[in-house]
Amino acid sequence: MLDWLGTIIQGVLLGGLYALFAAGLSLIFGIMRLVNLAHGDLIVLAAFAILSLATWLGFDPFLATLLAMPAMFAAGFALQHVLLNRALGRDLLPPLLVTFGLSIIIQNGLLEAFTADSRRLRLGAIETASIELGGNLAIGVMPLLTLGSAIAVVLLLNLLFYRTALGRAFRATSDDLEIAQLMGIDHHRIYSIAMGIAMVVATIAALYLGIRANFDPTIGPARLIYAFEAVIIGGLGSLWGTLAGGVIIGLAQTFGAKLNPEWQILAGHIAFLVVVVLRPRGLFPRAVD
C-alpha cells in the first residue's frame, strides 16, 4: 500500500516537470493556436543559456536562471515579431514547417556551439536531498521544488490572465481574433508578448530539466511530445488543465514503469490516447473553440 503511495507521489512530482514543459506551450497554443514544434528545442536552448551564464559568471544555476529569464523574454519576443507573426494565418501548415525549420536550426546551432557532449546543471548536495516521510517514503527536494514551481507558474499566469487588462486582451484575442482587432487590439504585439512570457516559463522548465538529468542539443523533440500530450489532455486555454495533464502523464509513466521499466513511455502514450478518445477536447477546455 505504502509502495503504491510512493509511486503516486513519484508520478505527481514527475508530472510537475512535464507541466512546466507544457505550460509555455499551452500559453502559445491557447492564445495563437500555434503548434510550436521548436518548443522542446527552445527549452534546451534556455538550458544552455543558463549553463553558459552559470559557467562564465560563476553563479549557481538558480541565479543564472534569474538572469537568463529577461534575455529569453527578449529572444521570444523577437522571434515572434520577426518570424512567427509572419507565418501565422489561417493555415495550419506554414507555421508547422517554420517551427520545424526553427527546431532544426536550434538543434544544429547548439551542436556547433556546444558539441554533442552531455551537460548538467550542478547545484551540489541539494540535487539528491530528500525529505523523509516515514515508513520508507521519501520525497526528493528537487522534484518537490519542480512541482512547486509548476504550481507557482500556473498561479502567476492565471493571475495575469484573469486580473489584468493584458490578460483580458490575451483571452479576447484567443476567443475571437477578428473582433479583438475590431476592439483595437494589436494582435501581433499581443502574440510577441505571449511568446516572450512562454520563453520565461521555458527557462524555468530548463532549470529543472538540467538539474534533474543530463541534457544535450538533441533532446528537445522527445520532451516536446510529453508537453503536447499534457496540453491536449488539459484542454485548450486552461493552465490548471495543463498542470493536470502533466500529472496524468507523469502518473501513467510512473505506474507503467513500476509494472515494467520498458513500458514507462508507452504507458504515458496509452493514457493520452484513452483520455483523448473519451474527451476529444481535453478535460477542462475553456468555453467554445
Binding site: L97, V98, I104, I225, I232, E262, L273
Partner: protein
C-alpha cells in the same frame, strides 16, 4: 414556361464539366515516356545511381501519399511513419517467417497495413486539426514502442534480412542473366523497378482519386466540412477511405524501403524525422495540395542531400533556413507560387465549367 426561360435551360445544358487542359495532354504523353526511360535505365546506370533513384522514388511516393491525406483530405498527419514501420516489419515477418516472395510480400504488407489503419483511424478521427496531428504522432510512437517489445523481430535493436529471403525474389535469375550482374545488384534492380512503379503509381492514384466523385467529396470537405455534410457528403466515410488507402500505399512503400535496406530497427523504421518531417518538408516546399508540388519538392530535397549532406550540421541548418524562407515568401510552395503566377497545371484536377463553343 415562358419562352425566355426555356432558351436559358437549353443553353445551360450545353455547359460541360472538364478537367483537361491542353498542356496536360502533352504532359501525360511526356510522363509515360519518362517512366519508360526510367524503366530501362538499369541497362546504363551504375549501382550508385540506381540506389539514389530508389531513394528519390520512395520519397516521392511517400510525399504524394501525404499530400493526398493532408493537402486534399485535410488530414494533417505527423504519424505516417507508423505505416512505414509497419510495412517494413510486415515485410520482414512475411519473408523470414512465412517464406513469401518479397514482391508479393510488399503488396501483402500494404493490404495488412490497411487493416491496421481502420482501428487507428477510429481513434484518431475523434480529434481535429492540430490535435489530430499530435495524436497521429503519439500513435506512431505507440507502434514503435510496441514493436520494440517483439523479441522475435529483434526487439529494440532490430534485425536483418537474411540473404535466403531476398535471393529468391521472383525474376532475379532473369535479371542476373539479362544485366550480367550478381545477386545483390540484381536485387537492387528489382527493388528499383518496384520503387519506380510506386513512384509512378502514387501520383496517378492521387490524380484518379481526385478526378472521381470521391475526389469531389474531398474538395468539398476540405473547404468546409459542415457545408459538405449538409450537402449529403458522408465525410467520415470519405476521410476513412482516404486514410486507409494512404495507409495501404504507405505500408507498401515501407515494405519496399526495408526490402532495400535489409536491416530494420524500431527507431529507424518509425522515425518521425525520416518518414514524416522530411516528407512534410518535401510536400510543403514543393507545394501542398498540388500533384506537381511533391515532384518539385523531392528534386529540391534530393539535390540538397546529395551535394550538401557532407556538411553535417551546416547542411541541416541550411535545410531549416530554407523551410523558413520559403514558407514566409511562398507559402504555397515553389510549385504553388509558379502555378499561381503563370496559371499552369500539369495534373489538372480542378473542375472547370466550360461554355459551349469555347
Amino acid at each position: 414556361m415562358p419562352n425566355g426561360d426555356e432558351n436559358q435551360l437549353i443553353e445551360l445544358a450545353q455547359y460541360r464539366i472538364e478537367t483537361k487542359t491542353r498542356a496536360s495532354a502533352i504532359l501525360a504523353l511526356a510522363g509515360v515516356a519518362l517512366v519508360l526511360i526510367f524503366a530501362v535505365l538499369p541497362v546504363f546506370a551504375g549501382r550508385g545511381l540506381i540506389q539514389d533513384l530508389i531513394f528519390v522514388f520512395y520519397m516521392l511516393a511517400l510525399a504524394q501519399c501525404w499530400n493526398l491525406l493532408a493537402g486534399y483530405a485535410g488530414l494533417v498527419s505527423v504519424g505516417q511513419q507508423a505505416f512505414v514501420g509497419l510495412g517494413g516489419y510486415l515485410l520482414f515477418a512475411l519473408t523470414i517467417g512465412a517464406g513469401i516472395d518479397p514482391i508479393a510480400a510488399v503488396v501483402l504488407s500494404g493490404l495488412i497495413a490497411a487493416v491496421f489503419a481502420v482501428p487507428t483511424a477510429l481513434v484518431l478521427f475523434r480529434l481535429r486539426g492540430p490535435y489530430f496531428a499530435i495524436g497521429s504522432w503519439v500513435v506512431a510512437e505507440v507502434y514503435r514502442l510496441v514493436f520494440a517489445q517483439f523479441k522475435q523481430l529483434g526487439g529494440g535493436t532490430g534485425t536483418s534480412l537474411p540473404p535466403s529471403a531476398t535471393n529468391e525474389i521472383f525474376g532475379i535469375e532473369w535479371v542476373k542473366e539479362m544485366f550480367e550482374v550478381r545477386s545483390p545488384a540484381a536485387r537492387d534492380i528489382i527493388t528499383y523497378w518496384i520503387a519506380l512503379a510506386l513512384a509512378a503509381g502514387a501520383p496517378l492514384l492521387v490524380y484518379l482519386v481526385l478526378r472521381s466523385r470521391y475526389g469531389l467529396a474531398l474538395f468539398a470537405i476540405r473547404d468546409s466540412e459542415a457545408t459538405a455534410e449538409s450537402a449529403g457528403v458522408d465525410s467520415f466515410r470519405a476521410k476513412l477511405g482516404v486514410y486507409v488507402l494512404v495507409a495501404a500505399a504507405t505500408g507498401m512503400i515501407g515494405a519496399l524501403i526495408y526490402l532495400q535496406k535489409a536491416r530494420i530497427s524500431p527507431d529507424a523504421a518509425f522515425s518521425v524525422l525520416d518518414w514524416s518531417a522530411y516528407v512534410i518538408f518535401i510536400v510543403i516546399i514543393g507545394g501542398v495540395g498540388t500533384i506537381e508540388g511533391p515532384i518539385v519538392g523531392v528534386i529540391v530535397f534530393y539535390t540538397m542531400q546529395h551535394y550538401l549532406a557532407d556538411f553535417g550540421t551546416w547542411y541541416l541548418i541550411l535545410l531549416g533556413a530554407l523551410a523558413i524562407v520559403i514558407m514566409l515568401f511562398a507559402p504555397k510552395g515553389i510549385w504553388g507560387y509558379v502555378a499561381q503566377r503563370y496559371r499552369v497545371a500539369l495534373f489538372p484536377v480542378r473542375r472547370m465549367l466550360v461554355r459551349p463553343h469555347e
